[in-house]
Amino acid sequence: MSSRDAILGRVRSALARKVSLGDTAAIDAHIAAHPVGLQPQRDWEPEARFRARAEALTSTVEKLGSLQAVPAAVARYLVAHGLPTGGVCWPSLRRLDWIGAGLGMEDRPARGDDLVGVTGCFCAIAETGTLMLLSGADTPAAASLLPETHIAIVETQRIVPFMEDAWALLREEKGSLPRAVNFVSGPSRTADIEQTVTLGAHGPYRVHIILVG
């Protein structure tokens, strides 16, 4: 007997199953319905909540009127923080006028020594101040991970109240899950040494969020 059958056999006998093949109707129904469970009370407006929570997680946030204004804002942020003015961006952002803003943003896969990564996001979650990023050809996962500075563009109309709303949006727009769904809530951190919170463990040291809308 295979390990699989032995393990499932023990599980079935523990659950006192009468037949070897269980009736999947009930679990199929639960999965098909995927009911929304308990959420915290919502006494906030999504954009304000997202901004407040993101800032509490030590991300910085600014708001612009249009996507065209993004390259200049990125340049201002990088110069103000004494950061390099080049790096990688998602291929989905290649059409923005980075050169016009004096930036060298390359739409290639991120490397271990890239210092700045600019990404968009699938949507953002107000409850926790979280970005939801989907992996894909035009939205590679490493761009938000390898560089020391992550700049993320969030369209305000894509801020949803809860994670469950993000799943609903994903099912509606994409049908199935991409290889990787990454929820990002501020710069990477560790508190392993004497429970002292230190920013920039293995991922970015800083996350700057540019709201557009």
Partner: protein
């Protein structure tokens, strides 16, 4: 991991006098406990959330076979390979085989308690494959001669910043530094090339989602993301009990887990992995293997410890345990310390191999109160204690003492007489100080502290008098 649970008493006694350990444990009370309390208060109706979490975990366990099969089907349909491991050696063999077949020399690992449970690092090393722990705490332990972790969330809680400073200075040959941020930077710079050169990444899974065939990990450092994004192979190893039905169910548990573990509303990263790299993608592993480990879990499902399978490994029970807070994680002698370990260790390695653990509790029920999925930990410990008595695993004197007490307690007149005599004798022993410095048979207790002398009358005597 080497099992040393039957050395609990000796190691606990030694740890009480370990000043560095006590400093680290002291921080739990002022940081982890306070952070959790703040996060719980901020949420609102956390009790309702705990109940919801319990129901979700119970739902998954009630149809565990069906949810596992559904998970396997969905994961396979998306190109992942699902493996089933009956025990620790199975799990190691499966992963070593995957590594060998693919010419893997180096593995970047993110934190996985199941990998500790099955002794994966030792197996990889034996096969000539180099595992590199990349979680900062686990990395510190690995370069310190593969020291075991002392906490499931904060593995180096027993080490001071000075310890880490000395260790990095010695092992890295760099100037000694005592700033946690500088030490973290040093580890980052040493580990970054390891992520980039490892052929295989190994992660655990906090949950696996039946609906989508995804594995889910929560991390703060980002090392979990690196391990699952950069190497050409990704292996996720986890227990069969970790399945949850839907993404919505996972969302509810994600409100409970970080709040209970570290007091965060959400961890910095929550990552779901569904299948390997798609053809058009520029990053991601070409192969994605998922190893589902039983190693005693199906046995728990059948027995009185079934509720323990709800556990989502947050560590709140140990953070709030007065015994853990005093003796630290190493005393427990296996992977899972604290109240969860008091149940899991005897359940997985045998009650006779962890005799002290179900008794390493004051039964204060702090663990039961904070458990995010409402596991009645003290009740389960009591059940294990009863089983120890029934199987004769307790010392002879303790069994005889309890039998004698049990007999006396069933003779009301004798019991009343006995307690009246004891109350008077103990009052006399206390003298004018009203403190007893030494008691026969319980010198282990009175060696370290005085016993307050009773007032000389039993409760029943006082009650009779007040009724008159």
């Amino acid at each position: 991991m080497e099992l040393r649970s039957n050395e609990f008493k000796a190691r606990a006694a030694a740890n009480l006098g370990d000043a560095k350990l006590q400093k680290g444990l002291g921080l739990i009370k002022v940081k982890a406990v306070v952070n959790r309390a703040n996060a719980v208060a901020e949420f609102g109706d956390f009790e309702a959330l705990r109940e919801a979490g319990k129901e979700i975990r119970n739902r998954a366990l009630a149809d565990l076979d069906l949810y596992l099969e559904r998970f396997e089907r969905e994961a396979t349909a998306r190109g992942a390979v699902v493996h089933w491991a009956e025990n620790a050696s199975d799990a190691c063999r499966i992963i070593v085989d995957i590594a060998r077949e693919n010419g893997v020399k180096k593995v970047a690992k993110s934190k996985s308690m199941v990998s500790e449970e099955v002794g994966l690092n030792e197996a990889l090393i034996e096969a000539g494959i180099e595992p590199v722990e990349t979680d900062l705490g686990e990395y510190i332990l690995q370069i310190n001669d593969a020291e075991p972790p002392s906490h499931i969330v904060m593995p180096v809680i027993h080490k001071t910043v000075e310890d880490v400073a000395d260790l990095f200075h010695e092992k890295h040959g760099t100037p000694r530094k005592t700033d946690p941020a500088a030490l973290t930077r040093e580890a980052r710079e040493i580990l970054r090339p390891q992520f980039l050169s490892a052929e295989m990444g190994i992660s655990g899974a906090n949950f696996i989602v039946a609906e989508t065939g995804s594995t889910l990990i929560v991390t703060n450092e980002g090392n979990g993301r690196l391990c699952t994004t950069l190497p050409r192979l990704h292996v996720a190893i986890t227990g069969i009990e970790k399945v949850v039905p839907t993404l919505e169910d996972a969302s509810v548990l994600l409100r409970l887990l970080p709040r209970s573990a570290t007091g965060q509303a959400i961890t910095n990263y929550v990552s779901l992995h569904t299948g390997p790299k798609r053809l058009e993608e520029s990053d991601g592993p070409q192969q994605f293997h998922i190893v589902l480990v039983d190693n005693g879990r199906s046995k728990l499902l059948a027995g009185e410890m079934r509720e323990m399978l709800r556990c989502i490994r947050c560590g709140a029970c140990m953070n709030h345990c007065p015994v853990y807070q005093a003796v630290g994680g190493h005393a427990y002698g296996w992977v899972y310390p604290g109240p969860m370990g008091n149940i899991l260790t005897p359940s997985y390695v045998g009650l006779e191999n962890a005799v002290a653990l179900p008794n390493a509790a004051t039964m204060c029920n702090q663990c039961g109160v904070v458990c995010p999925v409402k596991i009645p930990l003290p009740d389960l410990m009591r059940t294990l204690r009863e089983e120890q008595m029934a199987r004769g695993l307790k010392p002879w004197a303790e069994r005889m003492g309890l039998a004698l007490w049990g007999w006396a307690a069933q003779q009301p007149a004798l019991y009343a007489l006995g307690t009246r005599i004891a109350a008077r004798v103990m009052k006399w022993m206390g003298g004018s100080e009203k403190l007893i410095h030494r008691l026969p048979f319980v010198s282990g207790w009175t060696d370290g502290r005085d016993f307050p002398a009773p007032a000389g009358k039993t409760f029943r005597e006082l009650y009779q008098r007040s009724k008159r």
